[in-house]
Amino acid sequence: MILTYSIGLFVAFAVTGIAFFALMRETDGLHRLLLTDLVEVVTLAFIALVGTDLAEALILPGLVVGTSELIALSEIYRVKEGFNRPPSDGLQIEVMETAPPILAALLVGYGIILSGFSGGAVAGLGVIFYFLSRDHHERFEVIETASGYSWVIWIFAFFTFMIFPERWFFAVMLAGSAILVKVMAKMSIIGTMRGGPNV
């Protein structure tokens, strides 16, 4: 067990070295952005090697922060390089019309069963797929309002944990469903990044 951890740590250090070496040699902006993604993957290997619940707890925020950082950096790069002509309509094939509702329904259903943070991430991915492949004319203020109320429910669940610890199951259910709605609403915003009305 200890030996496998040492080998894993050695390999993780080696691949991190290679990734940073490539990042150092690279001069093109978009290539550097892709290598930043690579560095994120290999450094997550360090956390994965811990191999306990601590690893899962550390990986979740790490991934979310990494993605938001990637989105922000790509926007900065786009503005800096002056890419200001929006891309024309994507693929106009039949499967883009029929597949997204089925895929989105499956992912949202599975996310609701999972509940909690990961459930929100999975369900949010389904909503992102739907919004990315279809035109979206939803009213996003309503989604944001639902997200705000679910935040309040989440805080309420935590007060229930502290004040009435014997009602823990009720609080777990509240917190799990509230964070599901919260994460899903926030992630669905990513699906609208092609622009459009009401955003």
Partner: protein
């Protein structure tokens, strides 16, 4: 557990080499090669039974691919 772990580390190493020294040096080739170290990391997570981390990693990798492909679309349109 041992075989999955060692296979994961090997794929991680191969994938990082494939992304760092990519031939031909195009954006799409590098983006596709980025999936290989991702698979290595998934196998390492699988060896330690980290279900939540594994699922979230799959979901988040899909989003980062979307982000980069969109950036390439903007670039192709403007150049």
């Amino acid at each position: 557990m041992e075989a999955t772990f060692i296979l994961g580390l090997a794929i991680l190493l191969i994938g990082v080499l494939a992304v760092a020294f990519v031939r031909p040096k195009t954006y799409v080739a590098r983006l596709i090669n980025l999936e290989i170290p991702g698979w290595g990391l998934l196998l390492v997570m699988l060896a330690y039974d980290e279900t939540l981390a594994l699922l979230t990693f799959i979901a988040v990798t899909a989003i980062s691919t979307f982000v980069i492909v969109r950036l390439m679309e903007w670039r192709d349109e403007s150049c």
